[in-house]
């Protein structure tokens, strides 16, 4: 009776259908990332056509076309100003999305996002200290990022120490300590702004808190971001099956050969480092890490080995478009990107809540 395997086809069919769907989405999204990049680099106070952008990029990257048919200022805008910014946007979007996926699995809560652990509050305190009191001046041009990163590191250490008991980190303790540390450091940031008494300084801090890709340059920061975010996405993809097991429950993970405590601890270290780098490079950009994992699960299902790469690509596209809107909406003035992502993300969240309610009934 067991030899009759028309049912065997069923499981394989479900699997193959999901894999084909994922492949299609990944191919489509990679094309989307490239198109987004070319259009976003061409968009701004001075518009540059996609054809010209593509030729400048081709010339710079591959040496083709070799003939220069554009003006030097155009090349400078594309290569020096906008491309690093678009790349940073892609990296930050991808990073926020994959960290959101990991955190939602870690604490088994669909409302978890990368800022849940209070890391952004720590980074904000660090940034405020740098902007208002010149902290981290020894780091030269990286003073702000370095100071923010140290703040993020301190916050994650604090969360880690509070959440850890007897060599274990449970999801509930993690949630609670993240929220507590977040509030405490938020208060510290407010106190720093208040104590400095500088209106200009507090405006800069506010701008930073709402997120901006304005710091993007061809510098070490971009390279570090690429390395850390790429590494995190790769690690989470490879750990897909363990994330699946952890997302079902600690007890289940254990019976499937995944030590939930050890794995959650490892994830915590990886995600904290990644979020620390993200926040130091671009400030706190809300909603991307919360919303994109849900979008990704809608299109490719719950298997994390598929959700992680799809979420990374979706996040990259979404954040770059949000940045384009932020740049052109009130041009030449630039709006903090966090305002755009919140404006787009909040309605999405409401739809999600309605959906959850509908399926729960």
């Amino acid at each position: 009776m067991f030899g009759n395997n028309h049912q065997g086809v069923a499981v394989a069919e479900v699997y193959v259908a999901q894999r084909r769907r994922t492949t299609l989405w990944v191919v489509g999204l990679v094309a989307g990332v490239v198109a987004t990049g070319v259009i976003a680099v061409g968009t701004g106070a001075i518009g540059i056509g996609p054809g010209t952008v593509a030729r400048i990029l081709g010339h710079q990257l591959l040496g083709f076309p070799s003939e220069v048919t554009w003006t030097p200022p155009q090349e400078a805008i594309v290569w020096q100003v906008r491309l690093p910014r678009v790349l940073l946007g892609m990296l930050v979007g991808a990073g926020l999305a994959v960290c959101g996926v990991a955190l939602q699995a870690m604490v088994r809560n669909v409302l978890a996002d990368p800022y849940l652990l209070g890391i952004n509050s720590g980074a904000s305190s660090g940034a405020a200290a740098a902007i208002l009191f010149g902290a981290g001046a020894g780091f030269g041009q990286y003073a702000l990022s370095a100071s923010a990163f140290l703040g993020a590191l301190a916050a994650s250490l604090l969360v880690f120490l509070v959440a850890r008991s007897g060599g274990r980190v449970t999801s509930m303790r993690l949630l609670l300590s993240g929220v507590a540390v977040g509030y405490a450091l938020y208060a510290l940031t407010s106190f720093l702004i208040f104590a400095s008494g500088s209106a200009e300084g507090s405006r800069s801090v506010m701008f930073w808190l709402l997120g901006s890709l304005g710091l993007a340059r061809w510098d070490a920061l971009l390279a570090v971001a690429a390395l850390v975010i790429g590494g995190t996405a790769a690690y989470l993809t490879v750990s897909g099956r363990r994330l699946d097991a952890l997302a079902v429950g600690d007890e289940t993970a254990h019976t499937l050969g995944v030590s939930p405590d050890r794995f959650r601890m490892r994830l915590l270290v990886v995600v904290s480092l990644c979020v620390g780098v993200l926040v130091s490079a671009a400030g706190s950009i809300g909603f991307v890490g919360l919303v994109v994992p849900h979008l990704a699960r809608r299109v490719v299902g719950a298997t994390h080995a598929r959700v992680v790469p799809v979420a990374a690509l979706l996040g990259a596209i979404l954040l770059v478009w949000a940045d384009v809107v932020a740049r052109v909406l009130l041009a030449p003035q630039e709006i903090p990107i966090g305002i755009i992502t919140a404006l787009l993300g909040a309605p999405f969240l409401l739809i999600l809540i309605r959906r959850l309610h509908a399926t729960g009934a």
């Binding site: 065997g8 499981v11 394989a12 490879v238 699946d244 079902v248």
Partner: protein, 254 residues
């Protein structure tokens, strides 16, 4: 074979399990029975290493459980726990394929052979038609069968089940336990229903007040004289057509 000696566990200051010995023999079904709060589930969790007893030890086929890696343990012991993971967005097929995880290396994907095994296990629990459904949309009974299929897909040499008949209607209660018997693997089942225990378990361990009150072949443990003081209810035992039946009567309490 799982053999455990001198196990103990306490929540806070109260010992739940205190110096308990258990042996699950190859090819036999061992039932863990006892009233609410007698430590059945705690004992099961001690057996598969989710809890580490501060005293004594647990061995699987002669190897101490703490010496095995979590993956090695999962290849020897499959467990159906009561946690269902009802909020997951996984399909039934994905849920059952999770059971293949302990057999796959980090970079290995589930292949055709794994799909075959997953499909076969779903069929064995009568849930093959559910493969493409969302796990979260299943009824309690369907979920339980899928979770059992996942445990079967682990192809472990031992199967542990924590009240597997919860949420199941009478037919599936019998089907599931019949299936466990037919597997012929060394199984340990936590059961509430003493008549199911009578029918499907070879051996029983009766827990009460943190201790083993009685252990041995099912027919010997299910003695009204032993059971009545533990459960606090009057019990009559009937042997019908070679099967043992228990009848309960609150008024006849001893």
């Amino acid at each position: 074979m799982i053999s455990a000696s001198a196990l103990s566990w306490r929540y806070g200051a109260d010992p739940v399990i205190d110096g308990v010995d258990v042996v699950a023999r190859p090819g036999r079904v061992l039932g863990l029975i006892g009233p609410n709060g007698s430590g059945k589930t705690t004992l099961l969790r001690l057996l598969y290493g989710a809890l580490r007893s501060p005293t004594g030890q647990v061995t699987v086929d002669g190897v101490a459980v703490p010496e095995l890696s979590p993956r090695e343990t999962a290849r020897r012991i499959a467990v159906v726990v009561q946690e269902s993971g009802g909020e997951t967005a996984m399909t039934v097929a994905e849920m059952v394929l999770l059971g293949r995880g302990p057999h796959l290396s980090t970079f290995q994907r589930a292949g055709a052979a794994d799909h075959e095994i997953a499909a076969e296990c779903l069929e064995r629990v009568g849930a093959a038609h559910l493969a493409g459904r969302a796990f979260a949309g299943l009824s309690g009974g369907e979920r339980q069968r899928v979770l059992i299929a996942r445990a079967l897909a682990q192809q472990a040499t031992h199967l542990l089940l924590d009240e597997p008949t919860n949420h199941l209607d009478i037919r599936y209660q019998h089907e599931i336990l019949h299936l466990v018997r037919e597997l012929g693997t060394c199984s340990v089942v936590v059961l509430h229903d003493l008549n199911l225990a009578a029918r499907y378990c070879d051996d029983l361990v009766l827990l009460g007040g943190g201790d083993v009150v009685a252990a041995g072949p099912a027919g010997e443990v299910l003695d009204p004289a032993i059971l009545e003081p533990v459960y606090g209810i009057g019990i009559r035992r009937l042997d019908l057509d070679g099967t043992l039946h228990l009848l309960f009567d609150l008024e006849a309490r001893v």
